[in-house]
Subunit: 335 residues, 2 copies
């Protein structure tokens, strides 16, 4: 059976090539600064650090799972990766993040004003790329895929708006938090897994299973990311240890701590910024109150729902196995 590593070795260079040529063609006759900055964002400036291309991988593996020709899904995969990167450019402005993948973010390098516009231009390219699939598939299916693409984009914005509105509000309830990560992160992963079935005109059941797989994978991913933000090892994550506590980020473990431990709550409210000793105590409280375990259990819970949905899809066993590996690796990763 073909392993995930073999799929990656096969798909990733083709994804990179498709992304590069699509962006390069769209931007080659335009104003040079747009081309330069957008290629930089994707790491196409002299082979610098690139994203993991998780979403394109999910698109192509889901296509393979349905025994479609994965090459036909390349424009959809590129469009989704462009949408994701557009949202990163604007998120980095909104979160004031100076670095991404060890490189200066677009706003840091080109200034906030231009970064807003560069993100906008990239989003337009993403929509143009998803529009380009119309000629390859049944028109009704293509139209539905385009509409779902825009809905996924809207989810990201809605999730980001909630995230910003929640900022600093320690009374956010867990349900609102889960809704926020559903919109901001999980919806696009759900769409990435579902789109091959949409374009292939598959029955509702298959679509819903693949959507559910991606959605729960996304929820698990984000909750585990919140775990890493406190318990990840600094030398592996590339971030400061306990960075989410230091930055007072209202992540899932923190919201649980505020809800369940009066002692944690008191410490959280006592200071604007925490000493190393305080951070250490807070982490201990979260562990002793069983909150660390609860967070990991929540991630595992979503992962299990994802795997169950995946297991029910009738399709190519080898691709299914690779998607299973992605899911299982997700909550073992160190960064």
């Amino acid at each position: 059976m073909k392993q995930l590593s073999e799929y990656s070795a096969q798909y990733l260079p083709v994804i990179e090539q498709h992304l590069f040529s699509t962006l390069n063609n769209a931007l080659k006759t335009g104003f040079p600064e747009l081309k330069e900055s957008i290629l930089y964002q994707f790491g196409f400036d002299a082979g610098k650090a690139r994203g993991k291309r998780v979403r394109p991988m999910l698109v192509l593996l889901s296509a393979d799972l349905l025994s479609m020709d994965w090459h036909e899904l390349l424009p959809a995969a590129s469009a989704i990766e462009m949408l994701h990167n557009f949202s990163l450019i604007h998120d980095d402005i909104e979160d004031h993040s100076p670095l991404r993948r060890g490189k200066e973010t677009i706003w840091k390098k080109w200034g906030t004003e231009k970064a807003v516009n560069i993100g906008d231009a990239l989003f337009i390219l993403a929509v143009q790329t998803i529009q380009s699939i119309a000629s390859q598939f049944d028109p009704q299916c293509a139209m539905e895929a385009e509409q779902l693409f825009m809905q996924a984009a809207f989810s990201i914005m809605q999730g980001q708006q909630m995230d910003m509105a929640f900022e600093g509000d320690r009374n956010i309830n867990l349900e609102d938090y889960l809704q926020m990560i559903h919109e901001k992160t999980a919806a696009l992963l759900a769409f990435s897994c579902e789109i091959p079935a949409v374009l292939n005109g598959r029955e509702t059941e298959t679509r819903e299973l693949l959507h559910g797989f991606g959605l729960n994978l996304g929820m698990a991913f984000q909750i585990y990311d919140d775990w890493l933000g406190i318990w990840g090892k600094g030398d592996q994550t590339g971030k400061t240890e306990c960075s989410d506590l230091i930055e007072r980020k209202l992540s899932y473990p923190v919201l649980l701590g505020l809800k369940q431990s009066p002692q944690f709550c008191e410490m959280w409210q006592s200071q604007e910024s925490f000493s190393a000793a305080m951070v250490h105590s807070m982490v201990e409280i979260l562990a002793s109150e069983g909150i660390e375990k609860e967070v990991l259990a929540k991630a595992a819970h979503y992962n299990e729902i994802a795997l169950n949905a995946l297991g029910s899809v009738r399709g190519n066993e080898s691709a299914k196995n690779a998607l299973r590996t992605i899911t299982e690796d997700l909550i073992k990763r160190k960064k």
Copy 2:
């Protein structure tokens, strides 16, 4: 013959209603802050100052000119107005403008971070609205209209990127400046006039004439706007007199002054900010060197090309006459 004022009285309330209900429906179940801020941008918060809806008016009049049912063009007209307002929200961030139509801009009211995201959400609604026309028209025509919509959107971003890149660079040549306003302003007006012909499957000639009409109208509009930025009367424009000189904006008259008058050029370079006396002298130089006349002649030149193109379109005389009135009024307006 029906006058422009009668068309306005007929169209504008319907445009407002369509815009409001489209936005309200799309946002009513989502996160309230998005709905509140987007309705505010459009002036739907208790009847405050609204835009002039120039682009929707051009869409509907062009439809009438081609003897189409203008009601069918309402989604396209709303989509274009949404695209325009999205670009205003982001422009106001990029230009640090605190006020628009006498109201606080979105970034001023909600902060830059949220304003970026609110603009993004509005742009997605614009694309969804243009997608919604697919069911009403021939699928090929609808698809082409959607593609041209995205191209017009990309033009705006490209023009804005050029505008920001040119900032403070007094060596910008006039051709680059004209290219910038072509992309940033004129392209969307061209598309507004052309889209009814696209959706109606009209022959290339009609499409090109309407495109040319809108494009040249847009060029005239912007050049005349540059004239107003120096020679407009403060009590009528609502801006400070000579505001473009005071803000050191490299508008068309300033670029002409820098190119043609060594004396103007010297004054421009001599100070970071100008005294009232200097501004007065600079305006006098621009007049005595014939630059004020040259600017007005350039606007009139584009206006004439626009009117010629319009004159060649075979269509409803009454709608044509109303479009002619818009064009003629353009370079007589006081604000």
